[in-house]
Amino acid sequence: MAASPSLSIAIIGSGGAGALTTGDLLLETACAAGWHGLYTRTLGPQIRGGEAAGLLRLAVHPVECLPDQFDILVGIDWLNAHRFGAEIKVGPQTLVISDPRGGEPPPMVTQSGARVVEVPMKEMAKAIPDGRPNMIALGIASRLLGFSAEQVSAPLEKRLADKGPAAIEASLAGIKAGFGAAAGIAYGTQLATPRANTARRWLLSGNEATALGAIRGGIRFAAAYPITPATEILEWLAPNLSKVGGTLLQAEDELAAINMIVGASYGGTPSLTATSGPGLSLMIEALGLATSAEIPIVVVDVMRGGPSTGIPTKSEQADLNIAVYGMHGDAPHLVLAPQSVGDCVFTSQWATHLAESLQAPAIILSDQFMGQSRAAIERPADVAFIGARTLAANIAGTYKRHAMAANGVSPMALPGTRGGQYTADGLTHTERGTPTSGAADHLAQLDKRRDKLDRFNFGDHWASVEGEGDIAVMTWGSLTGAAREAAAHAVADGIGVRVVAPRLLAPVQPERLAAALEGVKRILVVEQTHGRQFHKYLRAHYDLPAPVRAFNRPGPLPITAGEIHRAITEWR
């Protein structure tokens, strides 16, 4: 039997069939046994009863993107599977497990040339008291991937602990039956044995990682208004903030949420809210207020398909424009984008540190794919980026909240500080904070707010720059993993590729990008938008030293490593 460093499996079922649970358990089993994995759930818009699929890629190395084609597809049933269409790639190499009583396989299966093996999962489940077809599917998939029954049972027992021994027994019986059924399926590939790994590893979603990074960075207050696909950040923070002496307040709308965090931060508490595109649209006015009044805040936008309500459950990168340019007036602020589930921890922590240090709002652009995927990662290193706000103390004489300073950052008096009383204001103000409509004051404060960002040394974290070669792939956010994998394939073909992915989107870093692109002959810009927002942003702010091609597509279809690889090789 051949050993593969990476295998991928998709589990499909109609809502309630348990496809997603099967995927979660496969991920937990694999990761507990030492493999790496990335697992994303994809759903239709229905709250219950629509289509659901768990997309899982397992490997001996860290995984940051989904495959171009799935090795195994298990259809617990096919009732709504056609709605996934091109989202789940099936090819001649794919092994499809199909229940003959689960409806007709969709065209993506029948037209793919894939080998289809029928297993009567429903019928087998019926033979077990309280048996469920998704547990049969779990047994089949586990056996095909090369797990033992013991490896599968531990996470299952943990997950079903609340449901009692009868439920566990029924599930274990289902898994056993699935193992039996899979024994008769000839499948020539298994996952290679994972490397012995002594590093501490975590299994978490991007949204959880973002929330944890925020707490690491010093966030102690969050305001919450639920929105798909950002809610998990807020739900994780709700119990955990209180454990570290903070709190979360549910707001009546996003307008309130953003103003609550401005108020809390004015009082000295590092503060965050999380939302998605529609919520960010509502928050823009207050982001301008925080810019003007120099109040540090962090806003996470877990991007989904837009505009308007768009596709709430699917990923896109099309909030770049609003994040960078959304505010009226000249309003310099920070925009950052994590690049993987693991990087969400770092970027969120760094964003908090930057916002606090620079007394400016920071927008973090995550996305649905990264936010709602679960991945096994090595524990991110502890970094020293903790909220570091410059405070005013021992104030004598007239306090000037917005005093000019060499680095543009003026000490902030917190309420309670004697002699520091001032009024924070969205009106153009003097150094003292008093409203004015004078040209000189307006210019001075605009300069101050620009300079404090421009003069700050953001260091090497501004981007990830990897590889060497005369082709640069420029991308950002969750596409970075696919770009890296594409680059690795190209290097294996003998084509030198470097991947340049800015983590800091605003303020722009022209000198650093010039250094990163030195000597390149071609620049391929890859992004998940319809309007080439990233391409235009690069064109507007940077001197790109070589011919540029854009490879862009809107959501919900993910851009895969294979597609980027083809775009690289075709441009020779």
């Binding site: 990761c31 507990a32 501490r200 590893r201 975590w202 299994l203 978490l204 944890l212 707490i215 690491r216 102690r220 207050f221 305001a223 955990n240 209180s242 454990k243 570290v244 002496g245 903070g246 709190t247 307040l249 707001a251 009546e252 709308d253 307008l255 309130a256 103003n259 609550m260 965090i261 401005v262 108020g263 809390a264 004015y266 009082g267 000295g268 508490t269 503060s271 006015e285 207050a286 207020l289 009044a293 096994a376 524990r379 008096a413 309420p415 309670g416 500080t417 004697r418 002699g419 520091g420 009383q421 001032y422 009024t423 924070a424 204001d425 969205g426 009106l427 904070g433 008093t434 409203p435």
Partner: protein
Amino acid sequence: MSGLDTRLAAKPADYKSDVKPIWCPGCGDYHVLMSFTRAFAQLGLPPEQIAVVSGIGCSSRIPAYTNCYGFHGIHGRSLALAAGLKVTRPDLTVVVASGDGDGYSIGGNHFLHACRRNIDMTYVVMDNHIYGMTKGQPSPTTEPEYDTALAPGGTGVAPFHPLVVALASGANFIARCFSGEPNETADVLAEAIKHPGFSFVEILSPCITFRPDEKVWKDQVHAASVGATHDQGKAARRLMTDDGFNIGILYRGNRPPYQPAVGATDIDWSELERDFEL
């Protein structure tokens, strides 16, 4: 309310800043500012322990005219901003200043939820039944027949009844004042600040420039004939049937304020990571 210290023997002037108001001569808001500083002095609150939060409009200019910490935010959102401040800084006395446009129109939803949430703060709405800063457009409390450029011949729309809305939404203290009676208003403000939970004080504050007809308010207002009730049902009947000029504390509730525990750091954040460990 927090940080009471009556030993200081504070004077109203201690709470006034040197910033000159932009208000028109004769504006009721001058008297409201006077009532603010008198109430703060009466309570002996250290100015640095008070935060005055506002939105946009003539009345919302008040924070900078005090010598307290202030926040002049964006239109309609003062209550939300103040909520974030108060839950994270329960040591502060938080007073929110607004007007009938800022508070009842663009900020209407926040008004409902601030009443419901019952965080310990005092909400003062200077109601002049008009948008003054934008020069005379009808507000939610403008009479339906009042003629303006934006609504020639009147809006034809029934005015909003803020006190009834406050009661129905859960406000814990409801009063009406008249700006022309700054001492009485200061006393009510002091009571509102002392009362736990969300206290709502509507101050009739005439706009001499765009509503010269409001000069007669001084003859129309009258002290409430009975004291504050604790009974929501009774309060509802009184508020529904009053003439809009009934002055005094009209309702005192006893709901406990919402205040989560903050500031205690029981565990290090690294403990939070355990959930994720494989």
